[in-house]
Symmetry: C2
Subunit: 202 residues, 2 copies
DNA sequence: TCTTGATTTGACCATCTGGTCAAACTCACG
DNA sequence: CGTGAGTTTGACCAGATGGTCAAATCAAGA
């Protein structure tokens, strides 16, 4: 492990390659299903070389998850209390759906973790996620009080958005098994848009 | 391995115990994350004894999945073309939500498999699942043609039901991290009911 | 009770896997 | 160049894991 000095050119390149490879492998096989050798090979390194950059398999996984949690929550962060309620929510949904389409590996990484009880990110869920959600549901509730959107259980409204959008990334195989050649997102976008317009109209 | 004669009392009991234990372990840790020893211990057997009843870890997993697929698809099977459209669909949704509540391990078993690309049930998805869905979406389309429910993309309508209901079982930790002590299904049932009433009303 | 097939287990094996280490190699810079 | 820090690797290790096997034990019908 190099000194805590500024990272060298090689360090930057290899750390990035490792995280990229780890994202592929962890998202496809889960934490236990992934092997260090597999990640190393995919990153173009030998196993000891990989372990020169990260002290353990767990450390790679942790680095990945904490780095991604930020990206993952960004769309909700952008929900603006001062914007038009319907448009703000629909924009949030669109951003989430785009993430499902453009970052399916990231979605599956979290899905893998959550389905198995989130043993490694339970902390972040109860703190970072919970507080962000509480902050944003307060805005939703306010909009409902003002009669600008239909009155609904705000937490379940958020859950429904997560469920509907991430489904396309997490259960991609199933969706494709049924749709065949049809592009899932082609139909998903208007469907979900319609759904929330109808649901949220007071 | 016993003869292909009728199973003895002990065989029945032990096979059932193994499948029950395997459901616990596979749903909590995924296929690779589960160990034969863990399953055996949870079933109250020694490892060699377990392997006397099932030839391999993979065989247990396969037996579980194929046995459960039937149960899993039953609610959709019950969707009746001759019933009242809105009530039929809402009843289907209610049954799915009940399964999320009462059979969360089964839901997570499938979720684990699907998130990782369904390497062991790809076949069943493209055949059994696909054909059942095609059969039922035909009914939905017919109802839409008759103006009895709103016109929507039938496949995505089905996906949305799966996503919204299974979310509560599959991502239970996340839901509970946010809801705290509140019972997830208490709020989910009316929320989802309202959602589909609004969505499906022409 | 005796016999025979069903059941159970301790000991064992090969392989996989996360991780270590000392030695070799490479690179940037004086 | 030469040198020291940074980088890479082959060989290796310990523990976990899926699976085997022969021998011991048990259960039920004749």
């Amino acid at each position: 492990m190099p000194k805590d000095r500024a990272p060298t050119r090689i360090q930057k390149k290899n750390r990035a390659a490792i995280l990229e490879a780890a994202l592929n492998v962890f998202s496809a096989h889960g934490f236990r299903g992934a092997t260090v050798d597999q990640i190393a090979t995919e990153a173009g390194l030998s196993k000891p070389n990989l372990l020169y950059y990260f002290p353990s398999k767990e450390a790679i996984h942790t680095a990945l998850l904490s780095g991604l949690l930020e990206i993952w929550l960004a769309p909700l962060h952008d929900l603006d209390a001062d914007g038009d309620p319907m448009e703000e929510i629909l924009a949030y949904i669109r951003r989430k759906l785009e993430m499902s389409r453009d970052l399916p590996r990231e979605s599956r990484l979290f899905a893998n973790e959550l389905v198995q009880g989130a043993p490694r990110i339970h902390e972040s869920l109860s703190h970072d996620l919970k507080s962000l959600v509480d902050e944003k549901t307060a805005i939703l509730t306010q909009w409902m009080d003002q009669g600008k959107i239909a009155r609904l259980h705000p937490y379940h409204l958020i859950f429904s958005i997560w469920a509907l959008t991430q489904h396309y990334a997490d259960f991609d195989v199933q969706v494709r098994a049924i749709l065949g050649d049809e592009d899932p997102f082609e139909g998903a976008e208007p469907f979900i848009d319609t759904l929330y317009r109808k649901l949220l109209t007071p």
